[in-house]
């Protein structure tokens, strides 16, 4: 069987699972069929053989998610974090495991009819087949809506849990976050799986951050299960809004993080932080877009990666500065340390600037562990493994230092320290 036929097959396999129950779904369904799953030559997936990975591990026409059973969130919950908790179990909202309280923020199951004005408006399903798939086929999701003038102290955590112990699992979920004027909120999504069968999720989150509002958005993929994950987070920003995103990828088989910030107002401030520590056969792809559409905004992006084993990392950072977006400051940095001859990293900055009065810079580096630094530490009596961990930890800490929530920082820090064998 030729490769092209295979691609067509899985595209149509998935297509057959989609419905046309609403106009949006119908449009997305036909976009999906037109686009087809990404192929080797699809530019945005050039280094990310997602279709092959999915075909090898899943049979989408026949997956029947077994009913998941989970009694508690032990080992999954972020320790000590006082939070509102939402649990999505195999892609379904779990009433019994979620813990939601308070009235300043609405947290509930997403209802398509109720939010027609926002859904599908920002996450572009016409150019990305996986977003089209999600838009046509999402099964469940969460609405987080913060009223105006509210600072929500407790972070909201969405635990996306997949129980793949009885068999393979797929979940297609959709979230919508709306942060009203002058409000602030922190949202954390964390992915975990149970069981050995492959589990796949396709998740799209659209965020709207209105005037002078703030959103901190975290994505934590540290699950070592047989996990395949594609996700897109698209955040639209109004005047003087502030968005900080933190994307951590420490494990899994295949992870694609699309992150898009649409700076559609003046005086916005956006920070995108990312850290990926990859080992084994993990493939992790961070595709980010910052779209400066209006003047006087600042964006800053810092992504760092450490690669071991046969892992593969991809970083693609697009910065658009539209003709109206004068006085834009946009900065981007991607740094990688490869610890293995077999690990690969593809990094690509892409700047498209149409305004003339802007400050933009980008830099990417990929190197090995600095031997000179290693020798320096060892020459002071520090054991080689400790010295190595010190250098790597310091490298990662530049990202970790930007996490304002102490409990969360400690949680991530502990994972990073364990991974890097930090014992000092």
């Amino acid at each position: 069987m030729s490769e092209i036929t295979e691609v067509k097959n899985s595209t149509s396999e998935i297509h057959s699972t989609l419905t046309s129950s609403t106009p949006l779904r119908e449009k997305a369904k036909s976009a999906f069929q037109q686009l087809g799953l990404p192929q080797v030559k699809t530019e945005e997936y050039r280094h990310t053989p997602i279709t092959r990975a999915l075909e090898k591990n899943f049979n989408f026409s026949s997956i029947q998610n077994a009913s998941a059973s989970l009694k508690n969130l032990n080992d999954i919950e972020i320790p000590g974090l006082d939070a509102q908790v939402i649990v999505m179990l195999n892609g379904e909202f779990s009433e019994s495991l979620s813990r939601i309280s308070g009235s300043d923020v609405i947290i509930k199951k997403l209802d398509e009819a109720e939010h027609r004005e926002y859904l599908g408006k920002y996450a572009d399903f016409k150019s990305d087949a996986l977003v089209a798939w999600n838009t046509a086929g999402w099964q469940s999701g969460v609405l987080i809506q913060v009223a105006e003038n509210k600072v929500i102290e407790k972070p909201i955590v969405i635990y996306n849990i997949h129980d793949a112990s009885p068999g393979e699992v797929k979940s297609i979920t959709r979230n919508l976050a709306v942060v009203g004027k002058n409000s602030e909120v922190t949202i954390i999504e964390k992915f975990d799986s149970i069981g050995a069968y492959p589990n796949f999720s396709n998740q799209v989150t659209e965020g709207l951050v209105f005037e002078n509002a703030g959103l901190n958005f975290y994505s934590i993929q540290a699950d070592h299960g047989n996990r395949f994950q594609v996700g897109q987070t698209t955040i639209w920003q109004a005047n003087h809004s502030r968005v900080n995103t933190y994307t951590f990828t420490f494990d899994g088989k295949f992870v694609r993080n699309n992150l898009q910030l649409l700076l559609d107002g003046e005086g916005c401030e956006s920070h995108m932080y990312g850290l990926y520590l990859l080992h084994g056969d993990t493939v992790a792809d961070n595709h980010t877009v910052v779209d400066h559409r209006k003047p006087n905004s600042v964006s800053n992006e810092l992504y760092k990666g450490v690669l071991e084993g046969n892992s593969k990392g991809i970083f693609n950072g697009k910065i658009f500065v539209r003709p109206d977006a004068q006085k834009t400051n946009a900065f981007q940095t991607n740094r990688n340390i490869s610890l293995s001859d077999k690990a690969t990293i593809n990094t690509k900055p892409q700047l498209e600037i149409w305004a003339d009065d802007v400050k933009c810079s980008h830099g990417c580096t990929t190197g090995q562990l600095d031997e000179e630094a290693l020798f320096y530490l060892r020459s002071r009596g520090i054991e080689k493994n400790t010295a190595r961990a010190m250098i790597l930890y310091a490298f990662a800490a530049e990202v970790l230092d930007n996490i304002p929530n102490e409990k969360l920082r400690l949680f991530i820090d502990t994972m990073v320290s364990e991974r890097l064998h930090k014992n000092f």
Partner: protein
């Protein structure tokens, strides 16, 4: 303390040390001088255990142990210290944390109790006074954005913290103005005792006005071609290195 016999070393395919023999006794200060490219820094690197260099012949015995068999960290734990010509900048690692890790790993190796935060800080305060370094520097990332003088002072601070038996100063004077040179040299002199030894690697006599050597050796083409007392350094200062090269050529 240190006994080097016929030491030969290369990096990649370049033979740099061609048979060095040197004996350093407790309490002595030896200066290694020589023109650029004579192998001075290579000698310092090989003694400290830099792995790019391959020792092709000879031996180095340090306190009765085969120095060349020890890892760089074990050499440090046995009391050898190299002050780097170009101290490395390590973003994200503060000097204080780095030194605390180093001091405690060394203490552990020697079977001593590790220091808690309080005793470490009091040790540090004592050494800060000795080498006249600004404490705010030590809270910052190791050497990051430090001036040349600050980096060298940090080297001497580390030396003070680790209390080595044998210190090797590799071109510690390079890039220093006269005031910084004096402060660094003062630090070294305060750390001198009859039990510990120092090897000063330098191109110029200048540093030796402050750190007065017992012996001066001239390295040329990877060999010690002349040895003498401190007056040899003055002679080199007056006459340059060419007469040495001529002497070697004649011989």
């Amino acid at each position: 303390m240190l006994s080097i016999k016929n030491l030969q070393a290369k990096i990649e395919d370049n033979q740099i040390l061609n048979g060095i023999t040197l004996e350093v006794k407790p309490g002595e200060v030896h200066a290694i001088m020589g023109p650029n490219g004579s192998g001075k820094s290579t000698l310092a690197s090989v003694l400290a255990g830099r792995e790019e260099y391959e020792v092709t012949a000879g031996e180095a015995t340090y306190l009765g142990k085969n120095l060349l068999e020890l890892s760089p960290e074990d050499r440090a734990r046995e009391g050898l210290f190299l002050a780097f010509q170009y101290p490395v900048e390590i973003p994200g690692v503060s000097t204080i944390n780095f030194m605390k890790t180093a001091v405690n790993q060394i203490r552990k190796y020697r079977g001593q109790e590790t220091l808690d935060a309080v005793s470490f800080l009091s040790l540090m305060k004592e050494k800060i006074k000795l080498v006249e370094i600004d404490q705010t520097l030590l809270n910052r990332s190791l050497n990051e954005g430090f001036s040349g003088g600050e980096k060298k002072r940090n080297e001497i601070f580390q030396m003070a913290m680790l209390e080595p038996k044998l210190s090797i100063l590799d071109e510690t004077d390079s890039g220093l103005d006269i005031d910084a040179l004096r402060i660094v040299a003062n630090g070294v002199n305060k750390l001198r005792s009859k039990n510990n030894s120092t090897i000063v690697v330098t191109h110029y006599q200048r540093l030796l006005e402050y750190i007065v050597p017992d012996f001066v050796h001239v390295l040329y083409k990877g060999k010690i071609v002349k040895s003498g007392g401190k007056e040899l350094a003055l002679e080199l200062e007056a006459k340059g290195y060419d007469w040495i090269k001529d002497e070697v050529a004649v011989a």
